[in-house]
Assembly symmetry: C2
Homo-oligomer: 288 residues x 2
């Protein structure tokens, strides 16, 4: 079922973008707009309508957790090559939601303390509480992406992590968290253009790091590492979605649609009052 | 200097709303709109224009900290009686800013672990990092407000806290945090109407708590506790601003104006590249 508010979808995003059995990253065209019939202009109305729907769902999700009856939460995991548009998703999709209902965690290079622990130690501390929409800007997947490409851990340790991730995410799902894992997929050429833009605009220089070109040189290795991640960790409890991201408008709309469809399936309800409403009105009226 | 983008101010909000020597809370009319010449309709355009300006300042503040050269951050402290509109400020003013630049902390009743420490222990852990706009939804001031009204600590401990707060905030300011403390001020009658609305709408029941009427019965004691807070802790390093809040549109606009004026005075700049831009363009071009 496609999101109610976004009218130009021909297929729901949860199906159109899902990484299933036999998925090959190579087959995804980063320019494509799977499942969506509209163009950039049409997407604006859909994104705005989706924002309003998302805001209501978020408030209901939050409210439902207050009575202590619902344990539901949502976790959006964002992974991507540099400049693929994670920041834009957070600004334009997540940013449309009440900040009181969002728990955003950005995972940078681990600190010495974090490295001394298992790689999931710092992740566990940031999983969303009931009622919240958690957003991971990078995640534990860095430990099998850059971790593998840069040889930051022994091969057998990298190997162990895939299974540890699947177990961890299953436990998270069992405790009430709906997990949506998104890889924003841009082409090598598009990344080049975006990095060049950062170099051309002095107000974007702070976003550029000479290391970006070094990572870019390892593009094929990263794609291979992503392929392995997608093949081995896309489960029913914590599925992966590959979102073509050369067109920023599509990527934003698609991530919003994924959130909307998951929230629609949770369908959180306003909790019933656990106090006597008539009595409280009387008590309050006496103070007016 | 009033915020550039909000054109209907006749006086800057930092002056019009400032708690200075001899300030009396009783003198503030919660219906008033100090310093602002526009009406509700005009405020919409000003709020929208302010949002765009705030978004740019936030990005600059964030960028300026990346080089490690700037330690500037902003901390907005929100205090108010129940239903005064803290949530609306967070949704409509803070919510307009990139979530990546916001650190929001909501302080509820302290846990057992928090109570075992000094009252500022849990606060210190949530102060904003350089480049961030921190927002406290309630704060250490609860410990001299409900703490005093409900006798949650001995009078001499409450007394000690005023000085401890002033010292703590001075240290925070010295390390680069610009502190804006806001009391949203509604009238007793307005609170009654807002609580009644919560009781009348089933989708608002979850926001209501029978304890709200009990706290309301102590309104005069709370106002006295606020008066003491305002008199004793409004300093040059961490001034208080009392924002009349019966009109929600004014309160939102005023808090936005306070943020804008403080950011204008910081005037964060895009950092200069610490790499050779021409060389990087060349390296990147070789990969295209």
């Amino acid at each position: 079922m496609t999101a109610k508010s976004q009218v130009q979808w021909t297929e729901d995003a949860l199906t159109a973008l899902r990484v299933g059995k036999g998925f090959r990253l190579d087959d995804v065209d980063p320019e494509s707009t799977p499942g969506y019939a509209g163009d950039k202009a049409a997407s604006k109305a859909d994104l705005a309508a989706g924002l309003a729907e998302l805001a209501e769902y978020q408030e209901r999700l939050f409210a439902a957790s207050r009575g202590g009856t619902s344990k539901d939460s949502v976790l959006l995991v964002l992974q991507a090559m540099d400049s693929a548009g994670k920041g834009g998703i957070i600004r334009h999709v997540v940013g449309g939601v009440d900040p009181q209902g969002i728990e955003l965690a950005a995972f940078k290079a681990p600190t010495e303390e974090e490295l001394a622990h298992d790689f999931l130690w710092r992740i566990e501390k940031r999983v969303p509480r009931p009622g919240m929409i958690g957003v991971f800007d990078r995640s534990h997947y860095e430990d099998v992406l850059i971790g593998r490409v840069r040889g930051l851990a022994e091969p057998q340790e990298i190997e162990r992590r895939y299974g540890a991730i699947v177990d961890f995410e299953r436990r998270l799902a069992e405790s009430g968290t709906r997990i949506i894992k998104v890889m924003l997929h841009i082409s090598h050429a598009e990344q080049g253009a975006r990095l060049m833009e950062r170099l051309e605009r002095p107000d974007k220089h702070w976003k550029y790091n000479p290391g970006d070109v070094d990572e870019r040189a390892r593009w094929p290795e990263y794609m291979a590492a992503y392929q392995t991640v997608l093949s081995r960790t896309s489960t029913d409890e914590a599925p992966w979605f590959v979102v073509p991201a050369n067109r920023k408008w599509y990527a934003r709309l698609a991530v919003q649609a994924l959130l909307l469809e998951v929230l629609e399936s949770i369908d959180p309800q306003w909790p019933v009052a656990d106090f006597d409403v008539a009595l409280e009105k009387e008590r309050l009226r006496a103070t007016l």
